[in-house]
């Protein structure tokens, strides 16, 4: 799996390599171990200094776990997944050997220190308070937004001194997106509005932005007005507890996932409560049979490059488009 993913990457690298005059600090440097060129990475909480490109990586949020795998690294330490513990199934093959150092919210500093990492990838909202301790263990690079997979990829590229790989992954992503969008032009309703709905036992969450929102925006989907307003107000989601609010969900295309860590019977009950309501039938996506159930892990939790591509795979499949 990893090798397959790296083949197109390598070929792009060759192309890029031909065009640039600068010496690259990537794979070649790591292999010979002669590269002692030091560099620094600026981030929102400070500056991380590196003597040489790091090899032993610790990643402290889901998106960084995923992105490390995308860049071909198997971190020495990762944080536990929210579901399917200890590692999301879609990442197991890539991260099978990594040690779990606690969860995203409370990583175990002693375990991290014991791994003697060369770099720690953290995120501001989770780890701002332990940043000093983390940087005492190893140079720590803090990603501002834990759900922004491009930012994570970009900063990890810098931190691991593999900017070219990161760049080529992003190029590959952009190409996929362009292809998807050009194929979608044939779909009559495109560009359509979308809703990402998370069914919980006691409420519904209508996610407006976040990770899935950013992917769908890339893919040309639009937000209905009410979601746009919430998004502009920097709200991550609209929480609905009253079935009278069902019309708020309205859009052309629904992507739905059930909250995985809650009791199934309760979720069934909640599902019936909302979807058996007569107002549910009046929603555009329901009327036109545009309701898709999606995987919670890749759509909402992975938050990295691989998850983004899996989301896009799902979109290709939903609209019956042949991949490039």
């Amino acid at each position: 799996m990893k090798i397959i993913r790296l083949i197109p990457l390598a070929s792009i690298l060759v192309l890029i390599g031909c065009g640039s005059d600068e010496p690259t600090t990537s794979d070649a440097g790591q292999d010979t171990e002669e590269n002692t060129e030091s560099y620094t990475v600026e981030h929102s909480l400070g500056v991380a200094e590196f003597e040489e490109p790091p090899e032993k990586v610790v990643t402290l949020f889901q998106g960084a776990n995923d992105t490390a795998a995308a860049l071909g690294y198997e971190p020495v330490g990762i944080v536990e997944s929210w579901l399917e513990p200890p590692v999301y199934e879609y990442l197991r093959e890539d991260l099978g050997e990594s040690t779990v150092v606690g969860d995203e919210i409370q990583p175990n500093l002693e375990e991290i220190a014991a791994l003697e990492p060369d770099v720690i990838i953290a995120t501001q909202s989770r780890h701002e308070e332990i940043y000093e301790q983390l940087s005492g263990i190893a140079p720590t690079v803090v990603v501002d937004e834990l759900n922004d997979f491009k930012m994570t990829l970009d900063m990890m590229g810098e931190a691991l001194a593999v900017e070219d790989e990161a760049e080529s992954l992003l190029t590959a992503w952009d190409e996929r997106i362009e292809h998807f969008k050009s194929e979608m032009e044939q779909v009559e309703e495109y560009p359509m509005t979308r809703s990402i709905i998370n069914f919980r036992s006691d409420s519904l969450r209508l996610f407006v932005g976040g990770f899935p929102g950013s992917i769908l925006e890339d893919a040309g989907f639009e937000m209905p007005e009410n979601q746009q307003e919430a998004y502009d107000a920097e709200e991550a989601f609209i929480e609905l507890t009253n079935t009278e609010s069902i019309p708020e969900l309205n859009s052309d295309q629904f992507f739905i996932y059930l909250q995985g860590n809650q009791d199934e019977d309760e979720l069934d009950e909640s599902w019936d409560l909302w979807t058996e309501h007569p107002l549910w039938e009046e929603l555009d996506a329901v009327e036109n049979d545009q309701v898709e159930m999606v995987d919670e892990v890749t759509w909402s939790m992975g938050a990295g490059y691989i998850a983004a591509n899996e989301m896009l795979d799902d979109l290709y499949e939903m609209y019956g488009i042949e991949k490039e």
């Binding site: 006691d202 009253n242 009278e244 708020e248």
Partner: protein, 336 residues
Amino acid sequence: MRERLLTTRSKIIGLILLILLFILSLYMSIQVGQQQVAWYVMFDALMEYDPTNADHVVLYHRLSRAASAILIGLSLAVSGAMLQALTRNPLASPGVFGINAGALFFVVVAISFFSIQALTSLFWFAFAGALLAAVLVYVLGTVGDEGFSPVRVVLAGTAINALFVSFTQGLLVTNEANLDRVLLWMAGTVANRPIEVLLPVIPIVMVALIIAALIAKPMDLLHTGDEIAKGLGQRVLALKMLIILVAVMLAGGAVAVGGMIGFVGLIVPHIARFFVGHQHLWLILYCVFIGAILMLNADVVGRIAIQPREIPIGVVTALIGTPFFIYIARKGFKQS
């Protein structure tokens, strides 16, 4: 405190006004919401309920909420009145007595360890937790050389409350899956409670109310002091046990249905006493209606203030109740 309605006649008129206000609040609670529903649809929905008609379903949900709100409101209010009479402490309420927290803790235990979901079974856990907390607080407040003292009861209640809340939090931290559901419960809510789940609670509340009415007269005597009541032939201990039982049945039922809804049990008895003083039969009647009116309106506010989202009803009552609590506490200090 001198009551405002001195004669029986004025008390009856006051009660009729309260009933009218209650009906108006009930009407508002069924009429106001995100979906516009014409008022006459209400009759159609009552006569011939059609589950495929959006208006009917909307009204049914609103009616269910209203029923929960009424049940919770009157239960907490009467429970608070009973506890204030028992302890002769104006700050007593199911919340301060630790009853809410005890019920909540048992419910979280039921959800976490026994995977119980049905509201009907959860009720019994809430009831047991409420009873345990009440007995603990009463015993802690009574033992010792000085005997029963209102201040010690409040201190004991605060301690027991903190104890059960921290137990609950401890359980939740180790079991995050249940966190969301219980969090909403901790804030107090009447959303999505079908009217059917109230059915097992209704008889318990009714029985408690009847007992409360029956012991209203002896409670008037108790108000004058344990010694006087004893001297007049009251079996004070039995009476106090009954009062606790009633308070627990009511508060336990309310917590089982709606979670931790604070302040209703504290402020409504004061409002009621403002009108009718310490005649407990009147006090209980007034508490029933004022409690229901307060909760119905708190629910309407919670529903429409930030739609499409909702403010949990417990948060609304806390917003109203906190200034009131401070007011009573300050007034109490001035008097003493």
